[in-house]
């Protein structure tokens, strides 16, 4: 049995156990096979992402500049528009350190499951951290007078023109 076959067999077994464990939650609004494949897909992709990011660590991410450090000045490396600068400043002022770490790691493409592994917690916890962060930033932007997100469209266009 090669490595891929062993992996697929492992995922099949784990998925079957999870499906059996959750049988009472099947509500019948979809086909059973669709429901079961959705669970198996979640399990398999979580494991694939875990393997892909297994060597990631918070320290390494900070060294790479992925995670915003408390001591870093928000004014550094700012070369964008008023909106870009406002967002960078608000990320420091409005978000908790955990919210900042989770949001920036997510924007960099790190899977939520791996962020959860590094920060402690679950994928749902990370989604909530990022959701709370987005809500806090939206409210803060609105307090600064950006009440219509059409203004964000406009400012995004300005930034794009500046970078061209």
């Amino acid at each position: 049995m090669d490595h891929d076959e062993a992996f697929l067999e492992d995922m099949t077994q784990v998925s079957l156990l999870r499906i059996l464990d959750r049988l009472d939650t099947f509500n019948g609004r979809s086909r059973f096979s669709s429901w079961a494949i959705a669970i198996a897909t979640r399990i398999t992709f979580n494991e694939l992402r875990r393997r892909e990011w297994k060597n990631a660590s918070l320290d390494a991410l900070k060294e790479d500049g992925l995670i915003i450090d408390k001591a870093t000045e928000p004014a550094e490396n700012i070369a964008g528009t008023e909106l870009s600068q406002s967002i960078r400043e608000l990320i420091f002022k409005e978000l908790t350190l955990r919210q900042r770490d989770a949001l920036i790691a997510e924007l960099d493409g790190m899977p939520q499951g791996e962020i959860a592994h590094l920060l402690g917690g679950t994928r749902n916890n990370v989604y909530k951290l990022c959701h709370d962060a987005r809500k806090a930033l939206r409210r803060a932007l609105e307090r600064k007078g950006i009440t219509s997100f059409n203004q964000i469209d406009l400012l995004t266009e300005i930034r794009q023109e500046e970078t061209q």
Binding site: W35, I37, I39, T41, P74, L107, D108, R123, F149
Partner: protein, 84 residues
């Protein structure tokens, strides 16, 4: 701080569609099979499942899993059709 313009732009995109109440990943998993079945059958998606579509527009991982689920179901249906 390494927050590139591309990341800011992505964040702005997320801020524009952020809602006070959103489904989390586990809640999305509860409904995603129903959404996939309806989409495959071409039936109009009921308003109640719009929250699932919204979550998929924000969560890259759930979206990736949903796309794979759709492919798997299409293949399964295709195989069933060819058997019959």
């Amino acid at each position: 701080m390494n927050l590139s313009s591309e990341k800011i732009e992505a964040l702005v995109g997320f801020l524009k569609i952020t809602r006070e109440r959103e489904l989390n990943c586990n809640e999305c998993l509860e409904y995603v099979a129903e959404l996939a079945d309806l989409e495959l059958s071409g039936v109009k998606i009921p308003e109640a499942l719009e929250a699932v579509e919204h979550h998929l527009s924000i969560c890259a991982e759930c979206r990736e899993e949903y796309e794979v689920l759709q492919l798997a179901l299409k293949e399964m249906d295709s195989d069933a059709g060819s058997d019959g």
